[in-house]
């Protein structure tokens, strides 16, 4: 059957015959037809999903807070195993100084960052005073010209500073949810990525990440939530030329994580 084609932007109709397109109904019907022919299947079920993921997650968080020191130690060792650089500071107010040190070691002058509300700490004043330009990402989508300016800025930045929604001890992974004010490119385009996190982000295993993901998707998404969730396990790497491990092929060459003992939060 012939299906409506999407309108072409380019004025004159294309000199092609409209070709038949498989519809969803046809496609699924064929699958059902084949499924009906299957014989002798063994019973199998997918992984059992938590029925009330949000409540389960609250429970897990309480349990995790008791094992926090061990979880952090494991995270640190796995993060370092994948070539991450781990830092630890006493309180949020120590974060700018730590960032300044990282910048100075790399002669980094241009820094892009999530805004203070998203990071849970204001870094711009202290760093600007130290002569490091900090551009905070906007909280809503600006007009195209400003977007182009920002993208160029992100692409040229020496360092990108983000928070982290999860820090997974089993694998040394940071999980970042994109959103307004948290563009996905902050942790991707600059050659060095620094993530700031505290104990609330720590989980032990990928299995627990499964529960968190279920909870995040339970019910309608909050309106400010973005469309991408990125798991980051060490710096960008490749071994495509003679299996020689090389870092920073497309993403950052370096990744740092700053753990804040006293916790993040602008009013905390």
């Amino acid at each position: 059957m012939t299906v409506h084609r999407l309108a072409s932007d380019g004025g004159a109709p294309a000199p092609r015959r409209p070709a038949a397109r498989t519809t969803k109904a046809e496609f699924l019907a064929r699958i059902r037809g084949e499924m009906a022919k299957t014989r002798g299947l063994f019973p199998a079920s997918p992984a059992e999903r938590p029925t009330q993921p949000r409540q389960r997650l609250d429970l897990l968080r309480r349990e995790l807070s008791e094992r926090c020191p061990q979880t952090l130690a494991r995270f640190r060792s796995e993060f370092e195993r994948v070539a991450g650089v781990f830092h630890r500071v006493a309180s949020a107010s120590d974060v700018p100084a730590e960032l300044e040190r990282i910048c100075h070691e790399r002669a980094a002058r241009r820094l892009i960052a999530w805004p203070a509300e998203e990071l849970g700490v204001a870094i711009a004043p202290a760093l600007s005073a130290a002569g490091i330009a900090v551009e905070s990402m906007p909280h809503d989508r600006p007009p195209d010209a400003e977007r182009r300016r920002l993208r160029a800025l992100i692409a040229e930045a020496d360092l990108g500073v983000t928070g982290a929604d999860l820090a997974v001890a089993e694998t040394g992974t940071l999980v970042l949810v994109s959103a307004a004010g948290r563009p996905r490119t902050t942790s991707l385009l600059p050659p060095c990525h620094v993530a700031v996190f505290d104990r609330t982000a720590l989980v032990e295993s990928l299995e627990q990440v499964g529960l968190v993901l279920e909870a995040w998707h339970d019910g309608p998404a909050p309106p400010e939530r973005g469309a991408a969730i990125n798991f980051i396990t060490g710096p960008s790497r490749t071994a495509d030329i003679e299996l020689t491990l090389t870092r920073g092929v497309h993403g950052p060459k370096e990744i740092h994580a700053i753990f804040v003992d006293g916790g993040l939060g602008l009013h905390g």
């Binding site: 969803k24 079920s45 959103a179 299996l243």
Partner: protein
């Protein structure tokens, strides 16, 4: 029928590969390393075996309700503002993607490594309408510049030396005199491809998984090109085989725990990217449009077919690394998009059993592939099934069929078997040297050309058993 027909016979392709000394060495180093890394990763992970069983069960359970899961996936992708397309054939998939490219006025497409787009030969089709496809996985980029095809599912350019890559980059990228140093070459690729990422209108990816309950497409990469491709261009098209759907995020966690361990021995690949439709209002980056192309191309027919289990495949490449045949001849000798043991099954699925009449025999049936497979696909069983099919459909040459039919009869009847053994003992006499048959005349010489054969024993087991009592 989606693939160009390979012109040289398998035997010739394999012989050429065997004569390539560098290829041989590279394959040996790469596969040995991958095997060790994989073993180490699972050694450190006591729950690995149980998770493999669970992953297998999830794949089977998903297939048993594939229609429902796909329907859920489609509904959820559309709910978050994505478009879903249904492609019965490779040709239809290409047509869908070309239409998107034309409608959006795309000039350049960046591609994250994807076996599905290799399978449908998308690049040539894009070029034909004036859209420049750029492969962005370093290995894929190398082979695209060299006008070759990937030779390994996860390490597409393992057949190339750093010297060859340096020469290739110097020539194709107009940067003469590049050092044969992976660090330098990777840096060059970063610069070249960064430009392309920032210019491209279209980002094309495959999908390692698609989570039905949330409408999320999951991409796993080490380089970050998957993230670039889904963050920078204004349109993102993901192409995936229908079998890639999984029910929930809980299932995803199971697969993530075993996929990278099986592929590269990492606990997790560097980047796992979960994309749910186009960018949301307020998001600075991310595509304006998101399209998901669901690809059949022979898969649906196998839901009730003999190759059903190959629909579990995660494309991790573990079966290639352990296969004694792959390790000798490499990926190109297989002649199609998907190499290695699983590749034979996938080739049969995409192109019909006739396409693997020789390939079905490119296996010693040793079972290493089934042991290595994270979802325990019984590849040898299906290879045997394919051989049977090739025989039944009279695809194999007739002398071969006659000989094997006779052989099967003899083996099935005790009287014939004993008679055969006696005749064989007499007939083999002129050919036995030092206890082996090393050369047979005429037609049978095919067998002994590259291997020898144990002779029929002077006395059969049954004869010895009788004498003993």
């Amino acid at each position: 029928m989606s693939e160009p027909i390979v012109t040289t016979p398998l035997r010739e392709r394999a012989s050429n590969a065997l004569r390539d000394r560098f290829l041989h060495e590279a394959l040996d180093i790469a596969t040995t390393k991958f095997i060790a890394l994989r073993r180490e990763a699972f050694g450190d992970f006591p729950q690995g075996e149980a998770l493999r069983d669970r992953a297998r069960a999830i794949k089977e359970a998903t297939l048993q309700r594939l229609d429902a899961h796909l329907e859920t996936l489609v509904a959820n992708v559309e709910r978050v503002g994505g478009h879903v397309h249904f492609a019965t054939t490779a040709e239809e998939a290409r047509r869908i993607i070309l239409d998107i490219a034309r409608r959006t006025g795309a000039r350049m497409a960046v591609k994250s490594k994807s076996m599905a787009t290799e399978e449908i030969h998308l690049n040539d089709a894009l070029e034909a309408i004036g859209v420049t496809p750029v492969e962005t996985d370093l290995g894929e980029y190398i082979i695209q510049l060299a006008h070759e095809r990937p030779s390994h599912i996860i390490a597409p350019a393992i057949h190339k030396t750093k010297g060859q890559v340096a020469e290739l980059f110097s020539r194709e990228l107009h940067r003469p005199g590049l050092a044969a140093d992976p660090e330098v070459l990777t840096k060059i690729a970063r610069e070249e491809l960064r430009e392309k990422f920032l210019q491209a209108d279209l980002g094309i990816t495959g999908a390692n998984f698609a989570v039905a309950e949330t409408g999320t497409v999951v991409l796993v990469t080490n380089e970050g090109n998957g993230r670039m491709t889904t963050s920078l261009p204004r349109v993102h098209v993901a192409v995936m085989g229908v079998e890639k759907v999984i029910p929930s995020m809980t299932d995803l966690a199971v697969f993530l725990a075993i996929l990278a361990k099986s592929a590269t021995g990492q606990k997790l690949s560097v980047y796992t990217t979960l994309v749910q439709g186009p960018r949301r209002p307020g998001e600075l980056e991310g595509p304006d449009e998101f399209h998901l192309v669901l690809l059949d191309n022979g898969r649906i027919a196998q839901i009730a077919g003999p190759l059903r289990e190959s629909l579990y495949c995660l494309r991790c490449g573990a079966c290639l690394n352990v296969c004694p045949v792959y390790r000798q001849i490499g990926g190109h000798a297989y002649g199609y998009t998907y190499p290695g043991p699983i590749g034979i099954l996938l080739t049969a699925m995409l192109n019909g059993p006739a396409s693997v009449k020789d390939l079905a025999h490119a296996s010693s049936l040793c079972g290493a592939c089934a042991d290595a497979c994270p979802v325990r696909i019984d590849i040898p069983k299906m290879l045997i099934e394919l051989r049977r099919q090739v025989d039944e459909e009279r695809i194999a040459p007739w002398p071969e069929r006659v000989v094997f039919k006779a052989f099967a009869r003899i083996l099935a009847h005790p009287v014939l078997y004993r008679l055969g053994a006696r005749i064989g003992r007499t007939l083999q006499r002129p050919f036995v040297r030092d206890g082996r048959i090393r050369a047979l005349p005429s037609f049978f010489g095919q067998w002994t050309r590259t291997r020898d054969l144990p002779p029929v024993a002077a006395r059969t087991f049954q004869e010895r058993w009788r004498d003993r009592s």
